[in-house]
């Protein structure tokens, strides 16, 4: 079955440190891949998306993600984390039925 896996439930980083959130997918073909962010008490907001072409995609708020077909991964990165980045992050993929399937989320805490 098609699935999206986020192996890290909770991550804590220090402000100014780099960040990498992991996402793995299982699909026969290259899916459309997305990262969403949910700030406390808010709905989800699209950070970035990958459809095809350049495997390194840039998003909003200084985030980027790299698609690696050989590893079935689409990891989210940021070189320097800010306290306002504390939130829950969801990886998602578009299924063959044109619906999105979401991972279980990674909760990011930022230490001062």
């Amino acid at each position: 079955a098609q699935s999206v896996t986020q192996p890290d439930i909770h991550i804590t980083v220090s402000e100014g440190a780099s960040l990498e959130l992991r996402c793995n997918y299982s699909y026969g073909a290259t899916p459309y891949l997305f990262w969403y962010v949910q700030s406390p008490g808010q709905g989800l907001q699209l950070l970035l998306k990958y459809f095809s072409g350049d495997t390194l995609v840039q998003g909003i708020k200084g985030f980027e993600a790299e698609f690696k077909r050989s590893q079935s991964s689409f990891n989210l990165r940021k070189p320097s984390v800010h306290w306002s980045d504390a939130a829950e992050y969801f990886c998602a993929a578009r299924r063959a039925t044109n619906k999105l399937i979401f991972g279980t989320g990674t909760l990011l805490a930022v230490q001062p």
């Binding site: 986020q6 439930i9 459309y32 997305f34 008490g41 808010q42 709905g43 989800l44 907001q45 699209l46 998306k49 459809f51 969801f90 998602a92 578009r94 044109n98 619906k99 999105l100 979401f102 991972g103 279980t104 989320g105």
Partner: protein, 115 residues
């Protein structure tokens, strides 16, 4: 900016009550979705709609129904609320092609507690 408004941020209901969760979007989006968000389970699709009066089941439709009488409004109905429906409910919308691109716009959520 696209705005997706969910009428109730917090609701407390009793087992067996009929519950209505309302969602309105102001960007003339064709597609609307209802998701349920639970810790450790991520977001799961309950129902979605690609047009007025059109609906399709998602992954967990049992115990829910929906109504889309107008393009801008998509309602989620719990006919007889049960305690296992205590959850955060998220409404989302997108342009017709948006469902394919994955660019969904979400409301702030409705946290439902069923006692």
């Amino acid at each position: 900016d696209v705005k997706v408004t969910q009428s109730s941020r917090y609701l407390v209901k009793r087992t067996g009550e009929k519950v209505f969760l309302e969602c309105v979007q102001d960007m003339d989006h064709e597609n609307m979705f209802w998701y349920r968000q639970d810790p450790g389970l991520g977001l799961r699709l309950i129902y979605f709609s690609y047009d007025v009066k059109m609906k399709e089941k998602g992954d967990i439709p049992e115990g829910y129904s929906v109504s889309r009488e107008k393009k801008e409004r998509f309602s989620l109905i719990l006919e007889s609320a049960s305690t296992n429906q205590t959850s955060m409910y998220l409404c989302a919308s997108s342009f017709k092609g948006g469902a394919n691109t994955g660019e969904l716009f979400f409301g702030e959520g409705s946290r439902l507690t069923v006692l």
